[in-house]
């Protein structure tokens, strides 16, 4: 197990530190590997250690009392998983689960604070990371709170649907998100909502509209 100082440089928190400074501090980090599906963090737990993704991808999500899952983000290499509870000392507000084999670098809270005291620029970078995360979450809250996004996604489905005659349009969730001016996670939630209401059926790579009239009503109501 060797902590890669060059990789630490790619973590936004530490990008301002020189290779020599990172090399001198790399022993403060610990490497941990987790398997696909393993829950790394659970909502409600306290965190005294900050985890960074070093390899692989991690799903950061919340689950409702009814078991509905809302993905907040996908954390990729360089991103921190639990800076909120580490900084405010309160329980973790989210769950984190490995989407495949994942390598994590962990750093104890007191060691992070020591680095910040020694290298104040790290604290400034951290504020920037937290501000970016807050901006992303505010946008997500806005899109999930107001019905117009469901209407926009529904309209896209209707505009790009066909009855099987001629060439059909193909759209990814990413493309639908760009067209609706929202995040991919919100498109996924919208499709799930429409499927639960029985208006569409997701059949592997096909979105089958089973109740066109209801979809048209959603569009009309959101207009």
């Amino acid at each position: 197990m060797t902590i890669d100082a060059a990789f630490l440089k790619s973590i936004p928190y530490f990008s301002v530190m020189s290779p020599a400074e990172l090399d001198a501090n790399k022993q403060l980090f610990t490497e941990k590997t987790v398997q696909r599906g393993e829950v790394i963090l659970m909502e409600g737990e306290l965190s005294d250690t900050l985890y960074f993704v070093a390899a692989g991808a991690v799903k950061v999500f919340k689950t409702s009392a009814q078991g509905k899952e809302q993905i907040l983000s996908i954390a990729r290499p360089g991103e921190a998983l639990n800076d909120i509870p580490v900084f405010d000392g309160k329980p973790n507000p989210v769950n984190a689960q490995a989407l495949g084999p994942v390598t994590l670098y962990s750093l104890k809270k007191e060691k992070l604070q020591a680095i910040m005291q020694q290298y104040p620029q790290v604290a400034l970078n951290t504020s920037k990371v937290l501000a970016e995360r807050m901006r992303q979450l505010v946008t997500l809250v806005e899109d999930l709170s107001f019905r117009h996004v469901l209407g926009r996604v529904t309209k896209i489905l209707l505009n790009h649907s066909s009855d099987g005659a001629g060439a059909n349009d193909h759209l990814t969730q990413q493309e639908m998100a760009a067209m609706a001016g929202t995040a991919r996670e919100v498109v996924a939630r919208s499709l799930k909502t429409l499927e639960e209401q029985g208006f569409i059926r997701i059949d592997r790579h096909r979105i089958v509209i089973t109740n066109k009239k209801s979809l048209e009503e959603i569009v009309a109501e959101s207009g």
Partner: protein, 69 residues
């Protein structure tokens, strides 16, 4: 022929995240190139698209109307 996710090799930065998250082993790295293997085990979870940092992986949906069923 089974419809499979697509890779845009020009956008791909070979980070390997799609390979690491694919549950059915349909995405593999062969000679420095991400390659998709056709398999009916792919259930179109679209996680490969979700994790791709460069938008190189796409899982597109065909949108059809079928009010019979």
């Amino acid at each position: 022929m089974v419809e499979m996710p697509k890779i845009n090799q020009e956008k791909c930065n070979l980070c390997g995240l799609c390979v690491s998250v694919c549950k059915c082993g349909a995405i593999v790295l062969i000679q420095d190139k991400i390659t998709i293997i056709e398999t009916e085990d792919c259930h179109w979870c679209t996680t490969c698209e979700a994790v791709c940092p460069t938008g190189a992986v796409t899982c597109s949906f065909e949108i059809v109307i079928d009010e019979e069923k």
